[in-house]
């Protein structure tokens, strides 16, 4: 099935509101919907879901998408530059597959901030709000889960792997991602707590559910529409659907995909995980974060990247091509990056250190302008030259493509309204 689209003005979300149950479930209160309806027509949603590939630790994008082949040997590094599908733009030799589809992507080369630490840095990029000890801002994934209803009993927000700051912050734990660890084969994925446990059959679940309904019937019918009773009732039904339809279990089952398609993503850890992400989006999720670890290359940057880059390159390109073939690319945003870039000058251990002043992010689909290379860094890769991009701007542009302006307010768990982005302005140039 395809995710519920919100293409035609706000009619679809009004329909979502009429399904009071599911709306209450996902927390999109009346105020949110009225507000969503009042956003300017410019903001009618182009996209309905997002896959984020998070390169945890701070990827050396200077060795990926923003090479400096003409700089001195202290900066240039070990990789050759290769041509891309956009004349004049060059990628690293390790990015063979994405280089060939750059004309279908949007590359931001001028993302920058000034937090060189992993946790607050990723907090800034993941939430689009400057870290602030007063307010724990939600990740963009949690926001997406909060703002958009998911469909058919599949959770809105997954995190495949553990990324820092992927949580819901002030939105409350129910908007935290469903976190699933994807192990190396032959170990299999543990879906404890989201699929039927071993030893419980579908029939057994149904019987238990029926008996539970008998036990619950007097309590709930006497308290119909009171306090949290409707929400709990909705959760019970949704949870039953999740378990009995086994939607999550099936999304994680890659044996359903033909070998040729698995080959397109690559038979690697990251390839498998990205493919699961696509299956989750297809099943109705709104935001899936795929976490790739090992990018904090203070030493042996080049050897490490020779190992890490090719599978990520293949998986990203495979995802974009596959989404396009399925007609899902227009409504799905693909975004890839990390918490900061790395120092242009190579250190004595052949590594690069933390460098938030300049980094690249690769995007595709979801109404982002195809073939656009936005911004640039100076010829040694130290600083962005004008047309720079801040984490709030990048983050604000994502929900904007989902139909929500940065001024949109959500309520904290104690009921206070907070704008989703304190500073973020949509980068209109990025979107078509």
């Amino acid at each position: 099935m395809s995710p519920q689209r919100l293409m035609h003005g706000r009619a679809a979300s009004r329909r979502a509101f009429l399904q009071v149950g599911s709306c209450g479930l996902l927390g999109c209160g009346l105020a949110d919907i009225l507000r969503a309806e009042s956003v300017s027509p410019r903001h009618f949603p182009a996209a309905s879901s997002i896959i984020m590939v998070w390169l945890n630790g701070g990827p050396a994008t200077i060795d990926m998408w923003d090479l400096k082949p003409d700089a001195g040997s202290d900066v240039r590094g070990e990789f050759d530059a290769i041509a891309t599908s956009i004349p004049g733009e060059r990628f690293s030799e390790n990015m063979q597959h994405t280089s060939q589809i750059l004309d279908r992507c949007t590359l931001v080369r001028s993302l920058h901030h000034n937090i060189p630490d992993h946790l607050p840095g990723s907090q800034y990029v993941m939430t689009g709000n400057k870290p602030n000890s007063n307010v724990e801002y939600p990740s963009v994934g949690s926001l997406a889960g909060r703002l958009l209803p998911s469909s058919n009993g599949i959770p809105a927000y997954f995190s495949l792997g553990e990324a820092p700051n992927s949580s819901a912050g002030f939105l409350g734990a129910q908007f935290d991602p469903f976190r699933v660890h994807i192990p190396q084969p032959p170990e299999s994925v543990s879906l404890d707590g989201v699929v039927l446990p071993q030893g419980m059959t579908q029939q057994g679940l149904r019987r238990r559910q029926e008996l539970r309904n008998v036990f619950d019937s007097e309590f709930t019918s006497l308290r119909d529409h009171v306090d949290i009773v409707p929400t709990l009732t909705e959760f019970q039904e949704q949870a039953f659907n999740i378990l009995s339809a086994n939607r999550i279990g099936r999304a994680f089952d890659l044996s359903a995909e033909p070998p040729s398609l698995r080959a397109l993503y690559g038979e690697s850890q990251i390839g498998r995980t990205v493919l699961i992400a696509r299956r989750l989006i297809e099943a109705g999720s709104r935001f899936v974060t795929v976490v790739s670890d090992g990018w904090d290359t203070h030493a042996d940057n080049f050897a490490t990247l020779r190992r890490l880059l090719p599978p990520v390159d293949r998986a990203l390109a495979g995802l974009i091509v596959d989404l396009q073939q399925r007609g899902m690319l227009d409504e799905t945003i693909v975004v890839c990056g990390g918490e900061f870039g790395r120092t242009p000058v190579v250190n004595r251990s052949a590594g690069r250190d933390h460098w938030p002043r300049a980094m690249s992010f690769l995007l595709a689909g979801g109404g982002f302008q195809r073939g656009l290379v936005y911004g640039a860094t100076d010829n040694r890769g130290f600083e962005p030259v004008p047309a720079d991009c801040s984490p709030p701007a990048l983050a604000a542009t994502l929900p904007s493509q989902l139909g929500f302006s940065p001024q949109h307010a959500v309520h904290t768990t104690s009921g206070r309204p907070i704008r989703i982005f304190e500073e973020g302005r949509v980068l209109e140039d990025l979107v078509s």
Binding site: Q174, D192, L196, M200, R208, L243, T413
Partner: protein, 585 residues
Amino acid sequence: MMIDALLAIACLVHSLPIADTTPAIAPLSTGVTACESNLIDQYVLGTLGELGIEPSALSSDTEFLRRLSLTVIGQLPKPEEIRSFVAEQRRDKRTRKIDELLNHDLHSAVWASRFCEWTGNSIESLAVDEEVAYQVGQLWHQWLRGRFARNEPYDRLVRSIITAQSRSVMSIGEWINEETAMVRAVRQRRDFTYADRATLDLFWKRTNVEDQYPVRELAERVASVFLGVRINCARCHDHPFDQWTQADYHGYVRIFEQVRHDMSPELRREFSRRLSERRRQFANGEQVGPPLPRITEVYLAPLSENDDRPAPKALGGPEFDVDTLDFRVALADWMIDEGNPFFARNVVNRVWAHYFGRGIVEPLDGLGSNNENIAYRELLDDLSKRFVASGYDVLKLELLILNSTTWQLSSIPNESNRGDDRYFSRAFVRLPTAETFVDMWHAATGIEPDLGNTLIRGLHAVEIGPDRLPKDRWDGVLKLFGQPDREETCDCSPRGRPGIRQTLALMSDPLLIADISRGRLAKLRTDDLTHDQTVDELFLSTLSRWPTGDERAAVRRASARSEKCDSWEGILWSLLNTQEFITIH
């Protein structure tokens, strides 16, 4: 008329002279004396009458006992307790039960847990060595629990937190001995009675993510927790809807700028004296004791002389003389003054929120906001005045609340009060705290408490201080069931909001499912109970009531359908997955 009937019941049910001056540690008052209507009922039932809202009926005995037990001691009532309570014929049995549970050992643990949450007992922000942070978090809980157990007047409790210094009256030598003993004890996972300390200096032993002393966070926390005032927004801009300006904020934060947590000059001197003494002993071939652990203290340092910033100033209160020895003492004096508009109201509102599931004012640190349209503002004022007059006696306030008809109303709505979510015309259906959920789960499945760490093995979840249980399966359960983030300096964490992960976990988490078969059921199979007795036992230990006829019939059908042990597991699973089980109602 319904309300008159309820007021009449209210007359029977209680009799609390809240303003009298009985010593705090004296036995609790019991029994019905003169018919004196409960203050809360006068306000609430009176207002409902004016509004034409009919309150719900009085709760049944089983509903009352369950709610009382879950809120007062954080535990489900035991089956035999339900049986004897329902069978009890005395008219004042509810009052007696209230007294009994308020005197229960776990009652103080419940308040210690809430105050650990509110005062921010968080592993992440405790500035102590990682290896002992966990034990130290437990000492924090013990300190609070001891005070609640003897019903220490609330003003005194707060004063010994907000004016805490490590040494208080001890000499530096004495204190180093004491503190060294404590550090050694916690390192060796031995008991240590920190609860005897005069003040909770742990409250001030903190660090933030940048490894700095979090003065502003501490200032904000004190305002939020002890005044019910959120000033965080004024850190960066004048508050949009509250009265606070940035000048208020900065003047207030200055109160806390004297506080230091590291090695004071005196400690440093004495420490190096001891070290050189040890070196001398060692050189002379004498026996030296075990190595001195690094210790730090909370102390005060004078503000710098040439500071032309505004003087320290209480929120909406007086400026303090810059020569004041400890601004926090001046702050405490101002807070605890009878005329303070926040101090008593804040705690009364928090106690109220604990028992009713929501405060008269929400959020709990919204007292500084424009709350023109809260229902029962006068009730809050009146309760606060009496609370002050009673000598800040929390227990008396609890007695008044729990004995009120208002608190004892059923959660079943009628046509006129179904939509009421602010006048307290019925009991709210809500989730228990995460700790209480874990304890409920243990009691209902009958598994032994085993919360991982040696220090707390065998304890109930409400008896645990720290907010992390390293490498323990219950850590994830506590987070999943809404344990608040204690690093936040405001009342911003979700309270009682359900999540679908919770529902899914209850239905399918393999460890929780395994608990169902390894606990009570494993034992029931060997007990000689009849079918009906077993069903009763399962209902009483989960839903705290007996099954209805329909439910008995459904259970019979279910057991006829499958193998015996299978079906009991299915039946208990079904009980544990009801809304009736998972909520306080």
